[in-house]
Structures are given as C-alpha cells and as structure tokens.
C-alpha cells in the first residue's frame, strides 16, 4: 500500500479514532464548563453585591484571589488539593478508628475504603473522576473571571431602570430578577465572549491535568513508529499533528467570533444602548 490509500487506512486506525474522540472530550469540557462557570460567576457576582457584609467579602475575595494568582499554577494546585480534600473527608467519615496520621512525611495515606475512586473501580470510573476534577477546576477559575464581568455588568445597567422598577412598587428581589438580570447580558456579553475565547485557548491545559485529550494523542500518535511495532511505520510527525491542532483552534476561534457577533446583534434588540437605538432607527 502506498500514497492516498495508505494514508486513509492510517488515519482510520483504532488509535486515530480515540484521537478524534478526544476532540469530543474538549468540546464536552467546554460544554460543561461554560454553564457551570457562568453559574459560579453569577453566584460570585451576587455575593459581591450582597448588602450583608461578610457575604460580600467572600464574593470579592473569591474574585480577587483567583484573578491575582498566575495561570496554570492554579490548575496544577487545585487538582491535587481537591483530590486530597475528597480523600480526607472520606477518610474521616469512613474510617473513624484509623489512628495513623494522614500525612506521613512525604506521603498522603488514607485507608483503602477512602481512596477516590476506589482502587477496585473500573477504568472508566477513574477517567470520569479525573475529568470531573478538571471540569470543577476550570469552573472555579473561570467562574471568578465571569463573576468579575457580571459584577461590572450589573453595575452598568442604568440606574434609572432600577428606579423605575422601584416606582412601580417592585421589591428588591423582583427588581433584581425582572429588570436587572434581563438587561445586564448586553453589557456582559463583550466580557463574556472574551472569556469564552480565553476558555477555548485554555482547553489544551487538560493535558496537564492528566486527561487523555488531543494534546496527549497528538504526542502519542505523532511520535516515530518503527515497522516492528505497527503496521504503519512513520517518522516523527508530531509537528504535523500539532499543526492540525493549531488549525482546529483557529477555526474554532473564527466560528465563535462570528456566532458571538450575531448573538450581540440579537441581544442589543430593544436595549437602551447605542446599538439598540441604531437597530430601532433602522427598523422605523
């Protein structure tokens, strides 16, 4: 076999199928993380706005700490910290009569029943566990950024709108949910779309969290193979695999840009902003 038929056979091997599936992993991470991070951000922004001082402090500290500390250190730190926190809690509840200390010098020792996931668990459980940790880490970090954006957006809604709500006799809560929340999105969208771009570009860091993602497979498949171990020997092709990833991300960014632009037009409809006014005039 040679030429195109060789390549088409090569590109459809079982391992390549796993590679293609890992693109799904990345998309799934984005699909899960984005709403969860948005929820975290909403919670954080609401906390930061709270009239009850301690809650407001918690919200503001969350935003400040996560945004101030450098990038991937957070990813590397959180995954171990969460894992140990989960095992520690399980250890305390499941093995109360265990007397040895958990930190023995350089080791972190918990009883067998407290291991997360259990050492007897199936392979997929381990993978799902690792992936969930990653999602949670991403959500916490990006939640802080989203909280900052939403906090700003809530303050950007014109004061007159809230005053009108009060004049109509709405309670604080009603005004928040019926007036502030529907209107804040148009102010939040530029910040959120920026965040979405950053989130897309953060997905390769899954590799550092030990998930078998596209970076893992690109390294694995691209490395030189000798005829002894595979039917498809080739030299060091990692450069081409990473070029493919680069193109994938560029396309993804481009598509996102177009979609977000459309969304912005949709959201501006009927809003008391310059863009909304322009649309109104064009229609009239």
């Amino acid at each position: 076999m040679s030429g195109l038929s060789w390549l088409s056979c090569y590109l459809t091997t079982g391992k390549h199928m796993s590679f293609y599936l890992s693109f799904g992993t990345v998309l799934m991470l984005l699909a899960i993380t984005a709403p969860v991070a948005l929820a975290f951000g909403f919670g954080g922004a609401m906390a930061a706005r709270s009239h009850f001082l301690p809650v407001s402090w918690i919200g503001k500290t969350y935003i400040a700490i996560v945004r101030g500390v450098p990038d991937i250190a957070f990813f590397l730190f959180f995954v171990i910290a969460f894992d140990q926190a989960i095992e520690w809690v399980r250890h305390k509840t499941l093995c109360p009569d265990w007397t040895d200390p958990i930190r023995q010098g350089n080791d972190f020792v918990v009883c067998d029943a407290a291991k997360a996931p259990l050492s007897t668990a199936a392979q997929w459980v381990h993978e799902v566990y690792g992936f969930s940790l990653a999602v949670f880490t991403f959500a916490i970090v990006f939640g802080a950024f989203a909280a900052n954006v939403l906090y700003g957006a809530m303050r950007a809604v014109p004061r007159a709108q809230m005053e009108t709500a009060e004049a109509y006799g709405m309670t604080h809560r009603q005004a928040f949910w019926r007036i502030l929340v529907p209107q804040m999105w148009v102010y939040a969208l530029p910040g959120l779309s920026n965040l979405w771009m950053v989130l897309i570009k953060a997905t390769p860091l899954l590799f550092l969290l030990g998930v078998e993602d596209i970076v893992y497979w690109a390294r694995e498949l691209g490395g030189s193979k000798t005829a002894k171990f595979t039917d498809y020997p080739h030299g060091d092709w990692r450069m081409w695999y990473f070029l493919a990833l680069l193109v994938f991300y560029l396309l993804f960014t481009k598509v996102s840009e177009v979609v977000l632009e459309r969304l912005m037009v949709r959201l501006s409809h009927g809003q008391a902003t310059q863009a909304g006014e322009k649309q109104r005039k064009a229609e009239a």
Partner: protein, 268 residues
Amino acid sequence: MSCWITIQDYALRSVGIGERLLPKEDFTLCQQFTLIGSGMIWNVYFGAVALLAGFFLATALALGKNADNRLLRKPAEWFIFIFRGSPLFIQFFFAYFLFLSLKQVSPVFAPFTAAWLGALVTLFFNTAAYSGEIFYGALRSVPKGDLEAADAYGFSGWKKFRKITWPTMLRLAWPAYTNEAIFLFHATTLVFFSGFPAWRQKGDALYYANYFADKTFNPFIPYPILAGYFVLLTLVIVSLYGLVNRRLNRHLPQGVRRKIRLRPNLIR
C-alpha cells in the same frame, strides 16, 4: 544544614551554578523558597526579553494592519490572527517539533530546540501579536485633532509619526499594554510543560514548584510560594510601567491622565 548554605547551593541552580543534585528528601521551607526563587530567573528572562523585542515587532504589526496597502495589511492581519487565535500551549508544542524537524535539515537550528532560544522566539512572536493588536486599536483612536494640528505645523512622514502619532498611540495603549506584560510573565510558566525539555533539571519557577509538589504530595506549600513570587513580580512590573505611563502622560492636566487599571488575564 543552615539556610545560608542552601541559598549558596541552590540560588543559581536554575542556570546551572551550584549543587548539581536537587534535594531528594527532608525538604525544608528554605529549600523550596530558594529553588522556586531560582526558577524565577527564567521567568524574568523569558518575559523581559520577549517583551522588549516584541515591542518593536508589535509597532510594525500595528502599522502594517493599519496600512492601506493590501500587501502590508494582509500579512500583519494573518500574523495577529494566528498567534491570538490559537493557544500558546499548542504554539509551544508546534514550535518545538518544528525546530526538531528543522534541526535535521540544518544544524543552524540546533539551539532553537533548547528552551532558552526556541521558547523565547515563540513568546516573542506571541507577545508581538497581542501587543500589535493593542497598538492597532490605539493607533485607530489617535484623536483626529492631534493629526490635523501636526499637519498644520508642517509635520509629515517620519517626523509626524515619531513626534505625534507614535507617542499618542503609546499613551492610549499603555494601560492595556501593562496588562499584556503581566499576562506574558504569567504565560512564561508554560514553557517547561510544553515539550521544551528542562535540561539537567534547569527549569523555571513552576517547574520546581511542581517538583516539590510531586515529591511531597503537598501542594499547599510550593504553589503558594510560587504565587507569592509572582505577586511580587507583578508589583514590580506595575510600578515600572507606571513610571513610563507617568512620562507618557506628563503633558496632560491631572484630570485627563489615563490610569492603569489592573486587569490581568488568565491563559493565552
């Protein structure tokens, strides 16, 4: 072993001076502080050199993107799009394997497969693209009145650019450019996690923090130390850029001066 000896052994470990072996057991706080601090040398090196070199390319890119000539505009637009549209992490991987392949072709590229040059080049292009976009935005918002006044005074060509357009562009771009600088220093931590090998365990701050976290299973000490160093570094950057900002704004009345708002981004 006292802390002073540790400092003598490991303070320059990341550049290959001092004790060869990294500590293997009984890690002290002093060792962690010293080694992670030693790693910061690389972060500062990558960040400072890439920023300095990137500044000039960024100006060129901004002018290119603003040019009427398609032959100048399109390459600049593509350059900026490619480096801003893809993750730095993937860029590092791609650059490393690209240089590995080029090394087969010509030995000239051998030093590029080492982090000190290869990663630096990648960071240089990357920061040039990001700063180029910032400068381009600023270039487009240079007040019309300033340019008309320059014309009225008989400025043209290079002199107009050097004396009027460029300083105003920098002044407008400076707050965003400060954030870009912070952002770049944070991004330097990616280098040794992306293909580029840490030869003889000469790594950056995150490399050593990760080393300690792996060895002790205790992330709660090395990572906060690393975070502390970066907070300090950020403060230094902010004050240095603040000085430049003061100088760029020195002709303006107090009220209109542009303040730097800290808005560091996370990942590029």
